[in-house]
Structure formats: C-alpha cells, structure tokens
C-alpha cells in the first residue's frame, strides 16, 4: 500500500518533470522559430540546389544541356592541383592573418578597458574606421602611401625601394581589425565589476586579473572570432565586407571558386569546389568546438556546448 503510493508519486513527479521539460522545449522552439522559418523558406532550397548542381555539369551559358554526372566534379577536384593549392592558400592566409589580428585586437581591447586611457570615443572611431574603407579605394590608398613613403623617407635616406604587395595582406588584415576589436572589447566590458573587485581584495595584480579573470570570461567571444575568421578565410559569411565586387575575394579558395563560376561559368564544378571547401571548414570547426570544451568558459556548462 505504502509502496504503491510511493511509486505513484515518483511517476507523478516524473510526469510533472517531463511536462515542464516539454513546455521549456516548446517555448525555446518558439524563440528559435524566426531563424528556423527563415532557414526553411530562404536558405534550404538554394543550399539543396547548390548540392544538386554539384552533381551536374551545369554551365551557365548552356543551362538546357545540363546533365547528371554523378561524382565527376568531385573526382575532378582531386586531379585539379590548382584547386588544392588554393585550398592550402586559404589555410595559409588564415594562419598568417588571423593570429596577428586577434592578438592585436585583444591587446587593444585590454588597453581600452583601462580607466586611464583618455579619448576613448575618438580612438575607438579611428581604430574601427579603417575597416569600412571601400575595397575600390583601399589599394590606391596603399599604393599612394607607399609612393609618399618612398619620396619622403626612402629616397632621401637612400634606402632600397619597397617591394610590392608583400606588406599589403598583413596590413589589410590589421586594417580589418574593427569588428574583432569591438567584439572582444564589448565582451570585456560585460565582465561584472564585482569579480574584479573580489580579485583585487584577494591581492591579484593587473596581470593576474587579466589571465585568470578576463581571458576565461571573454573566451566565448575569442572562440567566436576564431570561428568567424576561419569561415572568412575560406569564403564563408563575413562580419563586415568592404564591398568587393562579385568575382573578387581576399580568400584564395573563394577567389578560385568565383573564377570557376563567373569567368568559366562552370557552376557545376564551382558548386563541387564549394562543398569540398565547406567540408574542410566544417571539420576544422567541429574540431574547434570539441576543443572549446576545454578552454571556453561558460558559467553553467551543460551538454549543449558541443556539436
């Protein structure tokens, strides 16, 4: 009799609990709805179409002659040394620019949180400003400034002339620091003051506070910047765009895909290349997400961090 009653309450509790879970999931889905609906209506079809294109020899000049060719486009990728080189070029571009960009953004954001710095409004504007210079002008700015430098500094001092575009990529990377800086800085500003106060009372110096409080607290933002810079290097979505024309990209792989698509009009092969790039990018990202469990800090870590 007693036992029956106990079983009954456990079941009841379980029922109440599962009901609450179900309710929570329903409300959660309601919040996710805008993106889910948008995905189904506007994204899913084009993505599926791109997948189908990659299995055909779709040529934009002769769309009526399109035929299903199976995995031929993917097999072609493996014998296309130029595509492989561009894929590695993208990886190289990522490794060359992103660590530099992130280190500088982190240092600048750390300086910005100091109460001693004056004129933050102007400084923030000046640092971000370079990230919105239109693509059409940026090359001329560099060329013109290099000429000025030659005439004013290098020639009078008998220094050898500056060799071409080698400097350009790191410089453009640094000049695109605005979004990364803003994201890391806003994360730093969101760290509750009380934590710093507590650490200060415990005798932690500024360096220790940065390492043991700031870095863990902003690790989600650092992780975000890392993933987004990765996608940018391979031609995925960008946080900010200088308004490059359709066929141009700073990412070597995206440049190659664009060339296949716009110059050669070979949409089938371009799609296959895009999916290969996507697979590479996604594997790196999944690895990053897995590793993030070890270095990205969330206050209440639960199971939905990982992919």
């Amino acid at each position: 009799m007693v036992m029956e009653k106990q079983v009954g309450t456990v079941l009841e509790q379980k029922n109440v609990k599962s009901k609450r879970y179900r309710q929570e999931a329903q409300i959660g889905l309601l919040f996710l709805a805008p993106w889910l609906i948008g995905f189904i209506l506007l994204k899913a079809l084009p993505i599926l179409a791109a997948l189908v294109f990659s299995l055909t020899d779709f040529h934009m000049l002769t769309p009526e002659a399109t035929q299903f060719v199976g995995l031929k486009n993917y097999i072609r990728f493996f014998s296309d040394s130029e595509a492989g080189a561009n894929l590695f070029g993208s990886l190289e571009y990522f490794l060359l620019t992103v660590p530099l960009e992130m280190a500088v953004a982190l240092a600048l954001a750390a300086i910005f949180t100091s109460e001693r710095l004056r004129g933050k409004g102007i400084l923030q504007t000046l640092l971000f400003m370079t990230s919105i210079i239109p693509s059409t002008s940026i090359f001329f700015i560099f060329l013109g400034s290099l000429q000025y430098a030659e005439r004013l500094i290098f020639t009078p001092m008998n220094l050898p002339p500056i060799q071409g575009f080698g400097l350009l990529l790191p410089f453009i990377a640094l000049w695109s620091i605005g979004p990364g800086f803003l994201i890391i800085y806003s994360a730093m500003e969101s760290v509750p003051n009380e934590i710093y106060e507590a650490a200060r009372v415990d005798g932690a110096g500024p360096f220790a506070r940065f390492i043991y409080i700031t870095l863990p607290m902003i690790s989600p933002a650092i992780f975000f910047t890392l993933v987004v810079n990765l996608t940018g290097a391979f031609g995925g979505a960008l946080l900010l765009d200088r308004g490059y024309i359709l066929s141009f990209s700073l990412s070597p792989m995206e440049g190659y895909i664009n060339d296949m698509m716009f110059t050669q009009a070979d949409l089938g092969y371009a799609s296959a290349l895009a999916w290969v790039t996507f697979a590479v990018m996604m594997s790196i990202t999944i690895y990053l997400f897995r590793s993030s469990r070890r270095w990205v800090y969330f206050p209440e870590d639960d199971e939905n961090v990982e992919i």
Binding site: P134, L182, I183
Partner: protein, 356 residues
Amino acid sequence: MLRSKRRAEHSTLSFKLWDFTGTALLNLFMFLFVLVYLSPLPFMVIASLTPSNQFLDANAPILPSERVKFNYEGKDLIVYKVPFEDGERNLALYKPSRQSSEFIDPEHPEAGTITWQGSWRALKAVYHLKPTLDNFKEFFAASKVTLYFKNTIIIAIISEIGVLLSSIAVAYGFSRFRIPGIRYIFFLLIATIMIPSNITLVPTYYLFSGHMLDWIGTWLPLIIPHFFGSAILIFLLRQNFKSIPRDLDEAAMLDGAGPLRILVSVILPQSIPVVTTVALLHFFYIWNETRMASLYLGISPNLQTISFGIQRTQSFFFTPEALMVGALVVMAIPVVILFISRRFFMQDMIVTQIEK
C-alpha cells in the same frame, strides 16, 4: 578595514607619481600606435583635395597644389624652374621649341624674352599650394549621392530592427532552453555561416526572381532575409548570453517572470555592449554591401544603395582623386555613428534591474 588601509597606501606621493607615469605612458603608446596605424590615411585626404592633373606630373609636390601661371599678353603661361649657370630661375614659358625656348621673367616682364638652350619638356613646373574642392563638386554632380544616402539609411534602419529583434530572440532560444536536438539545430546554424556565399547565389537569385517571389528591382531581397535573423550575429549573441550566469534568471523566474520578461529585463540589460556591437556590425554590413545591391537593384538606379552607387561613379571616373572622394563620402556617416555609439560601451550604462 582592509580597503581603507589600501586607500591610505594609494594616496602616498610615490604611488601618485607612479600612477601619473603609467597613465602618461599608456596614452602615449596609444597615440603612437594610432599614428602609425593611420599613417596611410593622409593620402586619402590629400588626394581628394588635389587638382586632377597633378597626379599626371611625376615631379609635382605631394600636397594639393596648382601650377604657377603668369598672365602675359592675355595668355596664361606656365612657370618652370629653368637652370642657368648662375643658378635656377623661375621663368614663364613663352615660346616652346625643341632645342631652345623663349621665356619671360614674371618679375620683370618688361625686360622682354629670355632664350634658353635645351628641351623645355625636361623642365620642372613650379607649383604653389592650393587645395581644391572641385573633386567633391564633380563627384556630387555625377552621382545621386543624397538619394543613395536616403535609400541606404531606410534599408539599414528597417533591416536593423528586424535583425535585432529576431537575432536576440533566437540567440536567447539557443542559450537558455533545453530543447531535444538543439545541438543539431545549432550545427545547422553554424553550417549556414560556412557555406561559401556565392554558391547559393544563382538559386537564391532564382528564388527572388520573377519565377518565384518576383522581388527583383525592390528593396525586399535586401531587407526581408534579415527579419529571420543573421546566423553570424545569432552566434555572437548566443556566446554572450551563455556567459551570463543563470542565478538572476532563476531569481526572476521565482518572482513569476516569464521567458520574455527575463530576456528583456535580465539578459538584455547585461548585454548592452554586445547588442550595440551587433547593431553596429549589421549597420556597417548593410552600408558596405554591394553584391546584393548590384544583383537586385541593378535595374532600378533610383533605389540604389550608397556603396554600390559610389562604386559605379568611381568606376566612371576611375582617377585616384575620385576614388578617394568616394571613399570619404561612403565613410562619413559610419564614422559619425561610431563616435556616437561610444556611450553604449561604458560600464556605468550597464544596469541590472535586480539587485545582485
């Protein structure tokens, strides 16, 4: 007690001196950094104020200048630096010829012509400093800049409202609710960020074209998709929302607050810096965007946005000074907005409505 002791320590003279030096060094460092960082920018301003023919002369000075001219017998003569045995003289070229040319001395025109042996083409012209706004005038005359500004601001504001509302809601959904399979939905979200954007261009164009939605030549393709949230911004907001401790949510929940109320009065007040960042990033994204504008507004020039409109005008002139003028015009409003946005990053802005 400990605190008052520390404060006493702080007020000693040596600490003040140390404090002052630290502040000075930090500010000096930032000043020097910005100076180097922005060193290519003077070219932009100088070039935009430079008369157009100056770039054609390799010997022209760097600052915006004009050739010195001398009016003689109703004609404008160009003044050159002419080398003589006893030094260089600034003379106006009167009769150019291959082997020897005749010059007039602007200071003594009554003395008559001076003949100089040599090719006048090798001579350097004399310049005087004269910045001009002609480049801006020409640019504005050739381009409907004010119309483009108006269009872009309307598009940016409407899509900004949409993207903020939906991205915040979705990010909240991703960061606070236990939903079965949510990690796969999040995986899908990340995947949409990673798909190279141009590859869905043709099918997306087809979707927006007369075959299906018939949105070409309207602002709808530039506005409506943002009302479903931007994956990249959702990801950014979700990272921030997840790093906010849940104890305040739970306290609010015990007080009877619903999910929406928790979002508005617990989560958002603690996220003002990141929401500002998201708003700025989206605004600048729309402002700089040219691919969508060129695809969907190419046929309706009166609906065109600023970046693409300026790009068109620039390609029409395609001179260094026009490119710089265009860049300055496009950047003007974002710079003002950046400056204003500053106050949203300050920590005293962040107020939580529930006492901690």
